[in-house]
């Protein structure tokens, strides 16, 4: 075999030697292609799996943890929620519309494959500076791609986050999450059980699109990446809608043994993963695979990443019934092979054997690497930056307005108004609040969900930043009146073969794991996206968390906007002199330095529990967590959403910029009816949560008084800045 061929497949020399040892012979080109994709980082997690073992994955309410198409948690009444997040970064950087659209399509398939009807989509997006034309092109393309796919599917896109930072200029991040609802008995899994059972390919025909997408996702972007455009798949949401309806209908019959969508590495991965999970093999005739182009060879068929296809194993004898359901939805469902007992992937084309590999060799035998890790040099310097010498600003009102008009903080209405966030008639809290809440029809309960991440925190302290990602996501849910239950994570990092990057990765995962343990939100699934680098420059380390929680009673649903004159505003938690890693430093002083804010997870838990308890007792009128932009931005957001002002006094004896814009963790702003003040304060004392009564709601401006300084800004003026910022830049 020529050396450049296995190298082209993304394999190393030692991996190639291992393959020869497993097969006891030279692999042919088709087999090598299969190993190439299955042993890519994207499919095998070879660089990350050992690190990911740290994540807690169990809790009494976890019905399905990592390793399946999606995680599943119990929400009572015999119902369950399936959810997962996945990246589609590289395709979106090359072809934003289709890259993002197929990212949405892929994650939706993962969820309905489990037997759940997708009821909500979320996304986490990161781009370079919005002032650049390229970012504007990528940003608008990605948003319309997500809209185009999700809207057509009729699945509401209910929450998300969008950040703009130069480190993503050439490597945008597009992470898509899907959430589905099901009854326990409909839980389907990706197992190819029962030798003799037929294996169906259903849905779209197989074409030459997306060949080697998984390998592409596992290398750095470069100028040559443009040539990878054919590795980006093209989405057809209409086809997927039909596929979803048909699959959910066929699962209800009970004839399905196992099902898996064909995502990365297409037929190869779905078949060998299903066989490997069940300890079986699969025999398949590629000549039977329906194709959309002529002249495709075995290699192309096996590695095609054409979208909207599923592999379904069905009880023998029920072929006709299954076929007729797909036919009703106008879909092809073709038997291409059967489950075997010998553990082999036996791939034929007619009579000719084209590949013969033990299924487990593809999924389990991939070497795992403990990469070298080393603390990056930038860290000590950045953390040690002397913030004490920074001058204070003269006009904090002006600073506040500037922050509100910063695209990362500004209203994302330009984005979410392009998403149908209402279809399904379940959206109780639409985009624009701390978390989205959907009601569960037929019950007085709901589920809350959110995606969150702050890469500046992680860049300046991966361990602490990792903790904060989880804590903040959970805090968002609590502010909405939900008890956080579990998370799914999307870990976007640079090239793990670089010791500094691997160090960031390990530290961040350790921090996240710690937070998941303390906050009792296990990880039930996720995705790792490494090699997010362009021309050797890595993105900021960006772990993103998707979180789901239960609203036990819809009366608990809480939003962030102030509601009524004279309501009392209370801050739970403590404001410290912490300007490090803040948006204020970055935007106003052009500094990405200092220490990431401290976080004490036990304290965090206490604040969250107290907030939820007050909400459940009906004592809270509004709740909002303090995050980017600190307390001042949080108060401004409460005013803007409530279309009402506030008068507050902030009397801490620390520098005004820290009081207003520092990003101390574990803080929540609540407002309460003034008649409830005694009872609320009594509760907080009992729960031993530090608090500060800040002032009251009213008027049409936000007035903040400190010792010797003040801020007075009209709500209307803030709103104009906040709402127009992104739209203005996009009009260019």
């Amino acid at each position: 075999m020529k050396e450049d061929f296995w190298r082209e497949m993304g394999l190393s020399e030692s991996e190639y030697e291992l393959i020869k040892e497993i097969l006891q012979r030279e692999p042919n080109e088709v087999e090598l292609g299969m190993f190439g994709v299955m042993w890519s980082e994207h499919c095998s997690y070879k660089n990350s799996r050992n690190v990911l073992k740290q994540f807690p994955t169990e809790a009494p309410w976890v019905l399905q943890g990592p390793g399946e198409n999606a995680g599943v948690i119990d929400i009572g009444d015999g119902q369950a929620v399936a959810f997962k997040i996945e990246s589609h970064n590289h395709p979106s950087a090359i072809e934003p519309y289709q890259g993002a659209a197929t990212g949405v399509g892929g994650i939706i398939r993962d969820v309905f494959t489990m037997g759940a009807r997708p009821i909500a989509s979320l996304n986490s997006l990161r781009f370079g500076s919005l002032k650049s034309k390229k970012t504007q092109y990528l940003f608008s393309g990605v948003v319309s791609g997500i809209a185009g796919y999700g809207n057509c599917m009729g699945i509401p896109t209910v929450a998300g986050e969008v950040y703009f930072h130069p480190s993503y200029e050439d490597n945008c991040l597009v992470n898509a999450m899907s959430v589905g609802l099901m009854n326990h008995e409909d839980l389907a899994k990706g197992f190819a059980n029962g030798p003799g059972n037929p294996v169906f390919i259903v849905g779209a025909r197989t074409g030459r699109d997306g060949i080697h997408g998984a390998t592409f996702a596992s290398e750095e972007l470069s100028e040559a990446s443009e040539e990878r455009r054919p590795a980006v798949q093209v989405g057809d949401p209409f086809m997927e809608k039909l596929l979803m309806e048909a699959c959910l209908e066929v699962i209800k019959t009970g004839y399905v043994v196992g099902m898996q969508d064909m995502g990365a590495a297409g037929i190869t991965s779905s078949a060998c993963e299903m066989a490997s999970r069940a300890g079986t093999g699969i025999e398949m005739d590629l000549a039977k695979v329906p194709r959309r182009e002529e002249g495709m060879n075995a290699y192309e068929i096996l590695l095609s990443e054409s979208q909207e296809r599923m592999l379904v194993v069905v009880q023998k004898g029920k072929e006709k019934e299954v076929h007729s359901i797909f036919a009703k939805w106008g879909l092809e469902a073709i038997v291409v092979g059967q489950v075997t007992a010998d553990g082999m992937m036996m791939i034929k084309e007619g009579e000719e054997i084209v590949a013969q590999i033990p299924a487990e060799a593809l999924t389990e035998s991939c070497p795992r690497y403990d990469r070298e890790s080393k603390e990056p040099e930038y860290l000590a310097q950045a953390q040690g930056y002397d913030l004490a010498s920074l001058p204070e600003m003269e006009d904090y009102g002006k600073v506040l307005l500037t922050l509100l008009g910063t695209p990362t903080i500004a209203s994302k209405e330009w984005v979410y108004s392009q998403y149908d966030y209402m279809v399904g008639t379940n959206t109780v809290v639409p985009p624009g609040s701390d978390a989205a809440v959907l009601r569960i029809k037929g019950h007085n309960k709901g589920i809350a969900m959110k995606v969150d991440g702050n890469s500046r925190y992680v860049y300046l302290d991966p361990y602490r930043g990792g903790k904060i990602v989880v804590a903040e996501a959970a805090r968002n849910l609590v502010c909405s009146g939900a008890k956080p239950l579990a998370i799914t994570d999307c870990l976007n990092f640079g090239n793990p073969e670089k010791p500094e990057i691997f160090w960031q990765f390990k530290q961040a995962v350790a921090g996240m794991s710690e937070a998941c343990r303390v906050l009792e939100t296990p990880v039930v699934g996720g995705n790792v996206s490494l090699y997010n680098e362009t021309k050797g420059e890595a993105i900021y380390p960006t772990p993103v968390v998707g979180i789901v929680g239960l609203v036990e009673d819809l009366a608990h649903v809480t939003t962030l906007g102030f509601k009524q004159e004279e309501d009392i505003i209370i801050l739970l938690g403590i404001t410290k002199d912490e300007l490090g890693a803040s948006t204020y430093l970055s935007v106003i002083h052009g500094l990405e330095a200092g220490k990431t804010p401290e976080i004490d997870l036990e304290f965090e838990k206490q604040v969250q529990q107290a907030t939820l308890e007050l909400i459940k007792k009906g004592l809270v009128v509004s709740a909002h967590d303090c995050s980017e932009g600190g307390l001042a931005v949080a108060l401004a957001e409460c005013c803007m959403q409530g279309k009402i002002g506030a008068d507050v006094a902030l009397t801490e004896s620390i520098r005004p910029s820290s009081i207003l814009f520092g990003e101390s963790q574990s803080r929540i702003v609540i407002s309460i009816n003034k008649s409830k003040i005694d009872s609320v304060l009594q509760q907080l004392k009992k729960l031993q949560v530090p608090y500060k009564v800040l002032g009251s709601v009213g008027g049409d401006s936000l007035n903040i008084a400190g010792s010797g300084w003040k801020v007075n800004v009209e709500v209307a003026e803030m709103e104009e800045k906040y709402r127009e910022a992104i739209a203005c830049l996009m009009k260019g």
Binding site: S144, A147, G148, N151, C152, M153, G154, D236, P237, F238, M239, K241, L242, W329, G330, Y416, S417, Q418, Y419, D420, Y421, M422, V423, G424, T425, T427, V428, R439, K441, L554
Partner: protein, 234 residues
């Protein structure tokens, strides 16, 4: 009263409309499959929103050729009640049951937002529980919702009082600023000459419960029920 909700491949508000009638209105409802030609004796047909047949060519252009639409068209021509919402409205114009057409929004983007509507005509079976010129709030979610028609058609619609809903502001004024999609004369919904077929871009089924932020949309369905119970059904 018995309702039918048409299901095309790609319909995605069919479930919402079904739920609206079944759970909120608590009347009988059945799905009408696109490939069938049986209306199951329904009294009112809802053509729901979505992306019928993918809407790849032009919204609603393929759906009009489906077997069920033959029956729907015949039902409408005989005076049967038809409510087309969003993609349903597009399909009704493509089928010739309603005049004019829906073109791409002025913004060239999909838009999902709450809109205020002024009820221009409360003497229809769909709007009798609203007061004339009442301002109601019903959300839109579409990419092709700009209503257009030639001048003659538009004049006739206006003259005959067949514009049922118009986008307006909080004061009920019809201004260019409150027109979300560039519809001529701020038109959000129209009715046919006989007064039995209503097409509208906003989604009444999405605001029929207080928990979802409003109940203004429910009254279209209760109007239908009242009208039916008031004699039309007997």
């Amino acid at each position: 009263m018995k309702f039918g909700v048409v299901v095309f491949p790609g319909s995605n508000c069919d479930i919402d409309c079904y739920y609206m009638v079944d759970q909120i209105l608590q009347e009988q409802v059945t799905y009408l499959w696109h490939a069938d030609q049986d209306l199951h004796g329904v009294d009112c047909i809802i053509v729901p929103g979505g992306y019928s047949y993918g809407d790849y060519l032009r919204a609603g252009s393929i759906a009009r050729f489906s077997p069920i639409m033959e029956e729907v068209i015949a039902f409408g021509k005989k005076g049967g009640l038809i409510l087309g919402i969003c993609n349903g409205f597009q399909i009704l114009t493509e089928s010739g049951l309603l005049p004019g057409a829906l073109i791409k929004n002025r913004s060239l983007r999909f838009q999902c937002e709450n809109t205020l509507l002024r009820v221009e005509q409360n003497s229809t079976p769909f709007t009798s529980t609203y007061s004339q010129h009442e301002v109601i709030s019903i959300p839109i979610a579409h990419e092709e919702g700009g209503y257009v028609a030639d001048k003659e058609t538009l004049d006739r619609l206006e003259k005959e009082g067949r514009v049922v809903f118009r986008y307006c502001n909080e004061q009920g004024e019809i201004t260019p600023e409150c027109n979300p999609n560039g519809s001529l004369n701020n038109i959000a919904g129209i009715i046919n000459e006989q007064g039995n077929i209503l097409g509208m871009m906003p989604h009444p089924e999405r605001c029929a419960e207080a928990i979802l932020g409003g109940e203004d949309g429910k009254r279209i369905f209760s109007s239908l029920l009242e009208w039916w119970q008031g004699g039309a059904g007997r």
